[in-house]
């Protein structure tokens, strides 16, 4: 009987322990694989790796990989815990620590390899469906099926490395004393959480301080850069963990002293929580973190998706904007405009032909009030030495100080319009002046032809064609279109949205499966306990109450903490984000609540059923 024989028999004889470990590993590999199938899709091959989209994809795959790492490490930990007794028996019979480590290492590699192979086979089966989904969400025709050789290679490579690394590291955690202790008695007694109220206090102070810096002292944040964010992130994590563990300890201790403790099933519930305080706290922490990830992900992505139309319009106010500089050949401009008008003849559109003069050194534009009125469909009249300042950049307040201006020195500002007049960034600010003043200004004239289409988001094909036909000619003509911008942005945002929803889905299912495995590992112990108490006279209803409350704590406490954090973040950022963001967050939280409630009912029912079954 060789050593490998023992390795294999050890797995086969204890199938179910290994199956749950195998499944959770496989699950995270499939997710990663599907993700890489998208990332390396031929139709994304032209993507610039430095663009938002390229970066987002890179970051997301990194995140998924990191997540898989944590998830698999967690599964191995849970699995090792379950196997500790068997390992203790091996040790008692004379296996050395080195042999035990080799045994565990080989087992893990064997399972890892099997999980990788199964995941890729399953992934290949699912991927056409997955790509079809991506095609619908991304609104891209090109997302066809292909044989993802690159994705397969990368998945195999990365996860083999991961399994070898994790198994090597994890075998160091096999605790000789704990294993032998387990042989003596079947029950593992958890050490309860020690009070660390001072630590909790300091960690809250530090996090709040760093958060305050983030909001107020941009210089310090800027100079420390990534380091600051890492520190902030770490301190937030520590604070959350301490709040959860210390809060749990405090609540339980307080509850133990209250008169309600000895009433009905309260004692059973509290003692359950008390006995598993540490592992409960760990689970609550893990789920809270995963949920916070989900909430932030969805809120940010949904809201960015939501604002594309508005954002495009804010940057490029018109469907088509054709600016001819003084250097442009007038005959070319005439021909161009004729061609554009021809192409737009089939759709309803308004045309505005206006002009402005530009102080090219300072990129300041001057426009007559009658042209301004024409654009805005208004009837403003200005006094002889009055002017209006209009923004030239999106989200930048226009210049209002004209004391050094050649023409406007003595003029009085009557109104500031912060909405940018033409394509963002073309001029810094436009000064609207009375027609007579405009005529006296001696700066070069920029002829501007504007076309506004009804129902503009529907004309992306037309926009693409026009932008293609009339490329920028440096210092002669500039053609921009909000429709084209919208289309490009829309694609980026849908890919981001897709990535975001994938990530949320992953985090969410991870949170649920972690909970599931957690319940699974303690099921036998719990069952035995409740069978005993049932004999003494605990009705099903009372048992149901205990189980319901315990599960509710495991599921809804993380939910409550994550939601609180989300809204705290939103509140802190309220000046930077629009109200639509808040609405979207509310909606998504509500959706998640429904989702959670349904899973709670479902988990509770199956868990209760299994507690009672023989």
């Amino acid at each position: 009987m060789s050593f490998n024989h023992i390795v294999i028999q050890n797995i086969l004889r204890d199938k179910w322990t290994y199956v749950s470990y195998f499944l959770s590993s496989m699950f995270s590999i499939i997710i990663f694989f599907l993700f890489t199938v998208i990332v390396f899709h031929p139709s994304l091959a032209g993507l610039d790796p430095d663009s938002t989209l390229g970066l987002a994809l890179m970051l997301a795959s990194l995140l998924v990989y990191l997540f898989s790492f944590i998830y698999i490490a967690y599964s191995i930990m849970a699995f090792l815990k379950k196997k500790t007794k068997t390992l203790g028996i091996f040790m008692i019979t004379g296996a050395s620590m080195k042999q035990i480590r080799t045994l565990v290492f080989r087992e893990n590699i064997l399972i890892g390899v099997l999980a990788i192979i199964t995941a890729i086979v399953l992934g290949l089966v699912i991927s056409p469906l997955f790509l079809m989904g991506a095609k619908v969400v991304l609104n891209a025709e090109a997302f066809g099926m292909y044989f993802p050789i690159k994705a397969i290679m990368i998945t195999i490579g990365l996860f083999l490395v991961l399994f070898v690394a994790i198994s090597k590291v994890m075998t160091k955690f096999i605790n000789k004393e704990a294993s032998i202790q387990l042989l003596k008695s079947d029950v593992v007694i958890e050490k309860s959480i020690k009070p660390h109220y001072l630590l909790l206090f300091f960690s809250i102070i530090i996090t709040l301080g760093l958060g305050y810096f983030l909001k107020i002292e941009h210089d310090i944040v800027g100079s420390l850069g990534l380091l600051f964010y890492a520190a902030f992130f770490l301190s937030v994590l520590c604070t959350i963990y301490l709040i959860i563990s210390q809060g749990m300890r405090f609540t339980l201790k307080a509850f133990e002293r209250s008169s309600a403790y000895m009433k009905q099933t309260n004692m059973l519930l509290a003692s359950n929580l008390n006995a598993k305080m540490k592992s409960h706290a760990n689970i609550l922490f893990l789920i809270t973190i995963l949920l916070s990830g989900v909430f932030l992900c969805t809120s940010i992505l949904f809201s960015s998706y939501y604002n594309v139309e508005k954002d495009s319009e804010a940057n490029y106010p018109y469907s088509f904007q054709y600016i001819a500089t003084p250097k442009a050949d007038p005959s070319m401009v005439k021909a161009d405009i004729k061609k554009i008008e021809e192409q737009l003849s089939t759709v309803d559109s308004q045309k505005y032909f206006i002009e402005f003069k530009s102080n090219e050194d300072h990129r300041l534009g001057y426009m007559s009030v009658s042209d301004y009125n024409l654009l805005h469909n208004e009837k403003i009249s200005l006094g002889a030495n009055e002017f209006i300042a209009v923004a030239g950049n999106h989200k930048t307040i226009p210049i209002t100080n004209v004391s050094n201006d050649k023409y406007l020195k003595q003029f009085k500002l009557v109104y500031v319009n912060e909405k940018n007049l033409l394509t963002t960034g073309f001029q810094q600010t436009y000064f609207i002046v009375p027609d007579e003043v405009y005529n006296s200004i001696k700066y070069p004239v920029y002829k501007t032809y504007l076309f506004e289409l009804d129902n503009w988001t529907a004309h992306t094909e037309l926009a693409k064609k026009i932008i293609e036909d009339f490329p920028h000619i440096y210092e002669e003509r500039y053609v921009t279109s909000k429709i084209e911008l919208y289309d490009a942005e829309m694609f980026t945002k849908s890919v981001m949205f897709f990535i975001g929803s994938m990530l949320s889905l992953i985090f969410l299912s991870a949170a649920m499966s972690i909970l599931y495995f957690y319940l699974q590992t303690t099921l036998l112990q719990e069952k035995e306990k409740y069978v005993g108490i049932r004999k003494l006279g605990l009705s099903k209803k009372e048992l149901f109450t205990v189980v319901s409350k315990e599960l509710a704590i495991l599921i809804f406490v993380p939910f409550a903490i994550a939601t609180t954090m989300l809204f705290a973040t939103l509140f802190a950022m309220r000046t930077m984000v629009s109200t639509s963001f808040l609405q979207v967050s509310m909606m998504s939280s509500l959706c998640f609540f429904v989702l959670f409630f349904v899973s709670y009912i479902f988990i509770r029912k199956s868990y209760f059923k299994r507690l009672l079954s023989n």
Binding site: M262, M267, G532, K535, G537, L538, S539
Partner: protein, 253 residues
């Protein structure tokens, strides 16, 4: 003998499977007030099934069980749970203590489920722990105490609500000989001082000799019944003799 606490009439239990197996085949039995009865028999004779039927854990196929004049099998789940924790006390071979609770909490468990007032709980706890000599264990956790102590705690839990019937299933099965003596002396004093009726299943003639009366079950039927006189040694001999007739009994010793 007085009134009967437990009245069993024509108790039958069939396990239906590929081969239908009759574990109990018509048992009639009465347990009077303040009686201490041991149930003996070879393994597979049906003694544990008998106890489980009486314990309201295992529903009989045919027959009636009345405890204090009430039929527990006519109750629904909730009423049955209440009935168990008010009328019955249980002592198991494997103690059946809840590891997550302290000794004190384990003992109080049946009372908390009924939400008794705190002062009343404390009063009863004091009484019982004094009686069983486990006062210094109260704040300990279950894993910190020995097997004999565990069984004492289990007994304390079984009697704290002053049940009319104490049911014990091999209460000494997991104990060493010194602990066996301790625990059995406790049963005797519960019987004599608390006036609790006891029904105990055991295969150990020494343990059984603490009872007033022993019924022997064989092949699901009542086989014999012996009563104790004044001398326990003599009673022990009588038990051994009956077991010899019964066959198989000694081998289990």
């Amino acid at each position: 003998m007085g009134n009967s606490i437990l009245q069993v009439t024509n108790l039958q239990k069939e396990y239906i499977g590929e081969i239908t197996y009759k574990a109990l085949n018509g048992i009639d039995f009465q347990l009077g007030e303040n009686e201490f009865v041991a149930v003996m028999g070879p393994s597979g004779s049906g003694k544990t099934t008998f106890l489980n039927s009486v314990s309201t854990i295992d529903r009989p196929t045919i027959g009636e069980i009345l405890i204090n004049g009430r039929n527990p099998y006519s109750l629904d789940d909730e009423e049955l749970a209440k009935f168990r924790r008010s009328e019955l006390g249980f002592v198991f071979q494997d103690f059946n203590l809840v590891h997550t609770l302290t000794v004190k909490e384990n003992i109080l468990l049946p009372l908390t489920l009924d939400s008794l007032p705190a002062d009343k709980m404390q009063q009863r706890l004091q009484h019982v722990s004094q009686f069983l000599g486990i006062e210094e264990l109260l704040s300990k956790r279950i894993y910190e105490i020995s097997g004999g102590q565990k069984q004492r705690v289990a007994i304390a839990r079984a009697v704290i609500h002053e049940p009319s019937l104490l049911l014990a299933d091999e209460p000494t099965g997991n104990l060493d000989s010194k602990a066996v003596n301790d625990v059995m002396n406790l049963f005797s004093s519960i019987h004599t001082e608390l006036k609790t009726s006891i029904l105990m299943v055991t295969h150990d003639p020494y343990v059984a000799s603490f009872a007033n009366r022993i019924i022997f079950i064989k092949d699901g039927k009542l086989y014999n019944e012996i009563h104790r006189g004044h001398n326990r040694k003599q009673f022990y001999q009588e038990i051994m003799d009956t077991l010899a007739f019964l066959g198989g009994g000694q081998h289990e010793l």
